[in-house]
């Protein structure tokens, strides 16, 4: 019988069914500092951790991006320091591997997972973070869970799930110069809305998706949750297999051959159908910028701030008015006229080597007009970037080259916007207060953020003559 990629993975992991729910086997669970509630629950209920080797923990949300060489001593805030210490003591107590400060593979869980080979096609991966959808870029069924479910996986290696419906998002056509996978996913969220994919497991297909690098695919899957989808998948192909080869947890020799036999079956059958289909024409997309306080509030870089008065839906109009008030913007103001205060390049959405390469090409030989933070997603990304001399380009331009972590995407490690400060950010959420109380966020691609750092405002990078050679 024909099946979609998602259905194949699902069927492969059902332990048992009850009513409309299935007990699903979880291959790997990803933890971060905020998982302390889960460990508290395990302790309080006197549970044991069933398979510690199938859990991986990361210090990323609270680690400082400055003074990293001081280790824990570099964290002055006692509450923040406590969080970094807690994940270390909890994982130590239960024999779970921690990618902590000082580890060669420390970094954001969604950057390290793929680069360490934790992420593989066909796996069910549950993560203590909503952006666990990122791992779907390699053909895994990966989704975020809360603390109670983390405790459930730790104790049982399973989760109860009702089977999501399937949604195919087909993206076709050649992109314009300077249009990255970030622009694709922002455009998609703008099109279907931030609740547009609630209840669905999304599979991204089409020649535009196939053409994307694995890192670019991660950016797309990462923001699936911003459209409401808990999981977004892309079928593994030769690019996926090339990407994985040689990573620490990826099998080698005959085990690789055996794995390949399985991985090559992980694609949607020709006759399979989805519960819903959405088609996106990539040729029409220009660089995208968010103007409001929800990732669906997106316009073209060449566009203007929408006018709530022209919105007939009263509830929607009220939301637009509230967003404009928070953002300090006026209807019909052009996007390129908005004066910016700061730039943040980082987060699990856009902090990988290819993101930093593009940012460096834009900044090479230029001077930043705005305070600019560049936070690589992992220790490995940082080292690779430094081996290519990218850090020198950034520092010569006056940008700060920092240590890996979530940093100002979620603004709980001390890196944050001040009230009223306006940032161009490569992260994933522009919610009120997300990057600091009163802070104003515009989500953009790495190239757009780098250009904003240089010019102090949003520029249509599609017009840059060199944009054709960026290989986005």
């Amino acid at each position: 019988m024909s099946a979609t990629l998602f259905e194949k993975i699902w069927t492969n992991h059902v332990v048992t069914d009850r009513d409309d729910e299935s007990l699903i086997y979880v291959d790997r669970v990803l933890l971060q500092e905020n998982s302390f509630h889960a460990f508290d629950k395990i302790r309080r209920e006197q549970r044991s951790v069933r398979n510690p080797a199938q859990a991986f923990a990361f210090s990323d949300h609270y680690v400082p991006t400055r003074n990293r060489e001081l280790g824990l001593g570099g964290i002055t805030d006692p509450e923040i320091r406590n969080m970094v210490e807690l994940i270390a003591s909890d994982t130590d107590a239960y024999g779970i591997e921690l990618f902590g400060i000082g580890h060669d593979y420390q970094g954001i869980l969604h950057v390290v997972g793929p680069e360490y080979g934790i992420t593989q096609p066909g796996l069910v991966i549950a993560g203590a973070d909503s952006h666990t959808s990122t791992h779907g870029a390699l053909g895994a069924y990966a989704f975020g869970i809360g603390s109670s479910e983390v405790a459930h996986v730790l104790a049982t290696q399973t989760l109860w799930r009702s089977k999501p419906r399937t949604l195919q998002i087909t993206v076709t056509g050649e992109r314009q110069p300077g249009v990255s996978s970030k622009d694709l996913i922002l455009y998609l969220i703008r099109t279907i809305g931030s609740g547009g994919a609630v209840g669905y497991a999304v599979e991204y297909t089409g020649d535009t998706i196939e053409q994307l690098s694995i890192e670019a695919r991660m950016t797309v899957c990462n923001m699936s949750i911003e459209a409401g989808a808990r999981a977004g998948l892309i079928a593994p192909d030769e690019k996926t297999f090339d990407y994985m080869r040689g990573k620490p947890l990826i099998p080698t020799g005959s085990a690789w051959d055996q794995a390949m036999q399985h991985w090559q079956t992980l694609k949607t059958d020709d006759q399979a159908t989805f519960d819903r289909d959405v088609r996106i024409d990539a040729t029409a997309i220009v660089p995208q910028v968010t103007w409001g306080t929800n990732p669906e509030m997106v316009v073209d870089v060449t566009g203007t701030i929408p006018d709530p008065a022209k919105e007939n839906d009263l509830e929607r109009r009220a939301r637009m008015e509230r967003a404009l008030e928070y953002m300090g913007l006026q209807p019909d103001q052009s996007i390129q006229s908005i004066p910016l205060d700061r730039v943040f390049i980082g987060s699990c959405t856009n902090s990988r080597l290819e993101d930093l390469r593009i940012a460096a090409r834009v900044m090479d030989g230029q001077t930043c007009r705005l305070p600019t933070m560049i936070v690589p997603g992992s220790e490995q990304v940082k080292r690779a970037a430094e081996a290519e001399g990218l850090h020198q380009i950034f520092e010569n331009a006056g940008a700060e080259w920092l240590a890996p972590g979530c940093s100002m995407c979620v603004a709980i490690n001390g890196d944050k916007l001040g009230p009223g400060e306006r940032a161009a950010s490569t992260s994933n959420r522009n919610f009120e207060g997300r990057q600091g109380q009163g802070g104003r966020t515009h989500l953009v691609s790495p190239a757009m953020a780098a250009a904003a750092a240089i010019t102090g405002q949003f520029d249509n990078i599609s017009n840059y003559s060199e944009a054709r050679s960026w290989n986005l």
Binding site: V15, T16, D19, D20, E21, Y25, D27, N34, H37, E45, Q54, Y62, E79, I80, N82, M83, G127, D129, S130, T132, F143, G144, I145, G146, S148, E149, H152, A155, T156, Q157, T158, W160, S194, G195, V198, G199, I225, G228, R230, P251, A255, W256, Q258, A259, E296, E315, R316, A318, R319, Y326, V410, A411, I412, R429, F431, E432, G433, R434, Q437, G438
Partner: protein
Amino acid sequence: MEPLVTLKATAAPLRLANVNTDQLFPARFIKKPRAVGYAQYLFHDIRRNGASELDQNFSLNQARFSDAKVIVAGANFGSGSSREGAVYALYDAGFRALFAPSFGEIFASNCLKNGILTAKLDQPTIDAIQSLLLSSDDASVIVDINSETLTLPSGESISLTLDPFQKHCLINGLNEIDLSLEFHDAISAFEATYRQQYPWISS
């Protein structure tokens, strides 16, 4: 987990769509231990709207809704992050039932794990209930999980569609881990076969 069978309580309307977990529970409070009580952080910033004083336009700040245990909200309620603190904050503030046209999926899962009902009603029904709660003196409703009904202050009864698993967990106050451990043998059998078939995953 506290069982939830019937609930007679004040319902508060929240006429906002896309209320996200950062609004429910700002990220800077995640590091607080649960023992401090999370009610103080619920809607912390949105209910002040940038000022230090509580905004009286925010329904949950109004005296008539101060003892509410039910929220009737806009679409996509609880979108965003997986932080369960958003649910702990609702729980600690006394909330046990939430109605909206749709919910953030991770948030809805987290609610169920804490004995909070999330039930979907279509937008026109939500609009009508919100208007009723705002206009009538009496904002008390009855939620009955067994009969799957929500009874409004007007006496009108609205049927709910709860999934059987959700209903079972709520009524019995079930700790899901205990339920799942009853399947211990099935999990072990599955695992043994799985590891044999895909040996590279666990080696």
